[in-house]
Symmetry: none
Subunit: 407 residues, 2 copies
């Protein structure tokens, strides 16, 4: 029997409240021998420590051993969707990051302006990294002139510097398509092709991209330095069973950054707008307590500090989170999971494959008798090391959402 | 998406050097309660201890829970090949153990001389364990008379005592075939049959074996006590994607015993001849540093001592390894993995299923803050317990050989 089918079969309705708190990129490594610390170990976290007394701990493999996930696969795993089965194209992630409300079937492309010579040869793939304002102006020109191609709606949205996204919203479209980016200077813009020659939907999408190029390039031909553009990661938003379909949970996303709101929307969570700080996010959780069963609360600053290689900033981000935690605990969810979507070690200044620590608290989580929530502590926890996609199942079990299997 | 395909897709070229050091049968069990030690725990290993300060640890399941592997599956797992998917017949392993250079498609059989009565009934399945010299003499007789059967080359090589191997090298052959060994005395030699009745290649191989028997038995009919022979584990050498194809790594095997060189050759590693001691092996690693990306260094004596049930010898073998370790560390690989291919507990005098401890060291392995590398310490490591086939993936990740998965 398929495991997902078993979970669905055993599902029972409860009134439990579940909260997943993602400290983005939380996991880290100690790089100075036995006396060195990770930011989590070094931080002062009295509230987390108190919660730990009655919690279970473990570590999670975001995708598979050695695989470093982007935010997309990282979060899909936490939401219980196998990141290998549910892949989301880069164009989709980029569009979500710009706060665009996507619909299933939308074909999205990451795009960026480039410079071309008179013969159409790409001379600078990033157009000298034009200012964001210039990019916005160019996107404005394109948006005003190109609203539709045939029966397909075209949405163009500027990003930072030379980057923008293009969304094709219509019927019978599908990705992924090959890139138009030649990947190095000295070559012309490449024609975009279906990755599956037999797919009529991909063929239609490729034709649309070609038509879009034909319409768009003349509009910016006289501009300098950005007189062309390249498209990558062209894919459609996959149809993903929603959180409610899959788990019977009404879910809310309390995130600050658009990408995380977008990822939550991908699986059918409602995004809650407004809160800007973790304290405000927890306050909003309290206010919305009765309206949802599951709360995804996303905190970005641990990852940001990790990416910057800033140990003190990561420590401070964790301490700021800890200081706000009592707001959540004031109206305590029945099940709390605190973890990262992956590790972002300060020493690596980027995402990594290292299993992230996870803390699970409920009336029946048991106590692992660990004094604190840390990477090395989590190594000794009762949850062991497991794939992140199972976290939601453990949360559901702790919420008593599963009947016994067999007699 | 298939996981192996994902690993391949994310692969990037680096100049990193990776070293896998296999202390054969390293893992052990403490059998005298909490105050007892394993050989690894009891040994004096200052160099390993120092390396441990900045290393991660874990334990590896060689194949699957409770499965005791032979050297073949044990090493294939360490090399990243699922031992259930890539099965190598005993005949092939035996041939590799005798140092025979095999080609893909070669059908190999473990054989041993036996005694038969006038009616062809097997009276002693091992022919009284004849001396190795007698075996060599008999193999010589067979080799001189039987060089080919049809268009198939026949290679016969003596092993220890009554054992030898037969290799059929030709076109269109395949195993596995059933054994000719009746498994007990009092029965005649069994006819060898295809295991898959529909396989024309197996049928051809079975016919060859029958022809070989018809040609060979008359040649030794007058010999005593060995006037017959039995064949087992008849299988072809499978075509296995090479290390370079699979991982993009130029790999070298620095092993002393033929079987481990052979197993490394199966996956396309180059065997480096010469070194006889672990110190010489490490010296050779230093000399070959620029010529390869990946080094498999095999050390046999931990397993030997385990098989002998000799605690002190196993401890000594570990200490000898530790004493030589500084030679390797003098030209430190970017990624070091130290482990066994399985456990060979002294108390069991044989291979076992117990997960072997593994130590992983790189600039981004992190420190698990463990003072020593031991079985009980490894239980608390950040790598957790994982299947041995993933070790190479963690080594590749530590060598930064993988791009990020998704955005």
């Amino acid at each position: 029997m398929n495991l997902d089918a078993l979970y669905s079969k055993l599902l029972v309705k409860t009134n439990a409240k579940l909260a997943l708190i993602v400290l983005d990129g939380l996991g880290d490594i100690a790089t100075g021998g036995p006396d060195s610390s990770t930011p989590l170990e070094a931080s002062y976290t009295p509230n987390l420590d108190a919660l730990t007394q009655n919690s279970a701990q473990g570590r999670m493999i975001p995708v598979a051993p050695g695989i470093t996930p982007g935010s997309g696969p990282g979060h899909l795993g936490l939401f219980g969707y196998d990141p290998l089965e549910f892949q989301v194209g880069r164009g989709v992630i980029e569009a979500l990051g710009l706060g665009i409300d996507l619909k299933p079937g939308d074909v999205c492309a990451r795009a960026n302006f480039c410079s071309m010579d008179a013969k159409g040869i790409v001379t600078d793939r990033r157009a000298g990294r034009i200012a964001t304002e210039v990019c916005e102006e160019l996107c404005d020109i394109l948006s005003k002139k190109i609203k539709k191609i045939g029966d397909t709606q075209v949405i163009i949205r500027a990003g930072k510097e030379h980057r923008f996204v293009v969304i094709f919203r219509g019927k019978g479209l599908e990705g992924p398509l090959t890139d138009s980016d030649p990947n190095r200077e000295g070559l012309p813009i490449a024609a975009v092709k279906p990755t599956d020659a037999k797919s009529a939907k991909q063929k239609k999408a490729a034709k649309l991209v070609a038509d879009f190029y034909a319409a768009a390039l003349p509009l910016i031909a006289k501009k300098k330095p950005a007189n062309g553009f390249l498209m990558r990661g062209i894919a459609h938003q996959p149809a993903i069973p929603t959180f409610e379909q899959r788990y019977g949970l009404r879910a809310a996303a309390i995130a600050v950054y658009p990408m995380y709101k977008g990822l939550a929307q991908l699986v059918g969570m409602e995004k809650i707008e407004g809160p800007q700080t973790i304290a405000e996010q927890f306050e909003r959780y309290v206010a919305e307590y009765d309206n949802y069963d599951y709360f995804f609360i996303h905190y970005k600053y641990t990852d940001k500090a990790g990416e910057d290689g800033n140990f003190e900033a990561k420590k401070k981000a964790i301490e700021d989170f800890d200081a706000a935690l009592p707001i959540l605990l004031g109206k305590k969810p029945d099940v709390i999971a605190i973890t990262g979507d992956h590790s972002t070690p300060v020493a690596m200044k980027g995402h990594s494959w290292h299993p992230q620590p996870v803390l699970l608290n409920s009336a029946c989580s048991g106590s692992d008798k660990l004094e604190r929530f840390t990477e090395t502590g989590a190594n000794m926890g009762s949850l062991g090391i497991f794939e992140a996609k199972y976290l939601i199942r453990l949360m559901q079990a702790n919420a008593k959402m599963f009947d016994k299997f067999g007699a």
